[in-house]
């Protein structure tokens, strides 16, 4: 996998705003950011209301994903360019989600909204309308999604990469530091997990670091490239960012995202939990 296949630069994006077959999609943690100004022509996907089942804790099913993309005017052969705020956390989550349902031509805008804004590139409040399509999704690709039993079995056997901040890893905090901390589950991390915060992979402008830098970061942290890897965070969005780095940029073959992540694992009865900085740091 080379980065040209999975990433586009802001410069490329600005030149291709009107290119037929290229659809820009904004996915933000703050779902109101789009209303304040978005990339011209971009549609919005609301990760909370449109990608999650409204009742069960799970994704929308295959039919639901087909309905969503059809309504957004996204066709199977479109090149989808995803971008968002917060260093592309939720755009990376959507990227992984698009891959999960088999969309082939999907890319991330390197640096997301942040780089776009820092560059002073155009944003608009214009309403975007795209003609509806008849989108057809594939069955979920189980090779990139991990569930809880597999995670418990992976302790000591596979690479477990906890991509949360050091204070969440050690158990001092239960959520990222820009979110309120009131939650019910236990704090800490999965035993044998290494802690490589997602942010290590990003430059300050939100773009990804170079392949050489990325290889050094995960190698130095003790990631064994010969073993399968499961990445997790709190709810699976930051670990999508790391999944993107390991699977799409560095080309590791067996990498799964555990979207249940700490909000599930830290609420399970009887599973082992480790607190403190862990043996790797």
């Amino acid at each position: 996998m080379s980065r040209e296949n999975v990433l586009v630069s802001a410069e490329w994006a600005e030149k291709n705003l009107d290119t037929p077959g290229v659809v820009f999609v904004e996915v933000d943690e703050d779902t109101t950011a789009y209303d304040g100004g978005h990339i011209p022509g971009a549609v919005r996907i609301d990760w909370r209301t449109e990608l999650q089942d409204p009742v069960r804790r799970d994704f929308v099913d295959r039919a639901g994903f087909e309905k969503l993309l059809s309504a957004k005017g996204i066709a199977n052969d479109d090149t989808v360019v995803l971008y968002g705020g917060n260093n592309n956390w939720f755009a990376a989550y959507a990227y992984w989600y698009f891959r999960l349902y088999g969309h082939q031509n999907v890319k991330l805008l390197d640096g997301g909204r942040k780089k776009w804004e820092l560059d002073g590139r155009p944003l608009t409040r214009d309403v975007v309308e795209r003609e509806a399509t008849t989108y057809q999704a594939k069955e979920q690709d189980a090779s990139i999604r991990a569930f809880r039993d597999e995670v418990v079995e992976a302790i000591g056997a596979k690479n477990l990469v906890d991509v949360r901040s050091p204070d969440e890893f050690s158990g001092k905090l239960l959520a990222p530091a820009h979110l309120p901390q009131e939650q019910a589950q236990r704090a800490g991390h999965i035993p044998t997990a290494i802690n490589v915060p997602w942010s290590k992979a990003a430059n300050e402008d939100g773009t990804f670091k170079s392949d050489d830098e990325l290889r050094a970061i995960y190698g130095d942290a003790g990631l064994d490239g010969s073993r399968p890897t499961i990445a997790y965070c709190r709810i699976g969005e930051r670990s999508s960012h790391t999944w993107f780095v390991l699977h799409e940029l560095l080309g590791h073959e067996d990498v799964k995202n555990y979207d249940g992540s700490w909000t599930e694992y830290g609420s399970l009865v009887g599973v082992p939990i480790e607190v403190g900085a862990g043996k790797e740091s």
Partner: protein, 101 residues
């Protein structure tokens, strides 16, 4: 520079947040004394490690929830950058200003 623990609320806290129990780092991004909206504000821990990032509101406001310790708040904007350090030992509202230039 940073104030500490003053019970003044420059920006409303979300429902359910008790500043008597949590460490809340809140403040404004300023340029030439005027609030700067749309700045990327990141919280770095004592070792300089990235912890969280928010975008300042149109009034320049930002807010973080932190553990006890020493923190740096760094702002990045098209108009410039700047940072401010704070030592937050216990629960309460810590009010900061970050000037970008």
């Amino acid at each position: 520079m940073s104030g500490c623990g003053a019970p003044e609320q420059s920006a409303a806290l979300p429902a359910g947040v008790d500043p008597g129990r949590e460490i809340v780092l809140t403040g404004k991004v300023l340029a030439d004394g005027q609030p700067v909206g749309g700045a990327f504000v990141r919280l770095l821990d004592a070792s300089g490690e990235f912890t969280a990032e928010v975008v300042s509101s149109p009034e320049g406001d930002f807010r973080f929830f932190a553990a006890p310790g020493s923190w740096t708040v760094r702002a990045l904007h098209r108009s410039g950058r700047g940072e401010t350090a704070v030592n937050a030992e216990g629960p309460g509202l810590h009010t900061l200003e970050v000037a970008v230039a």
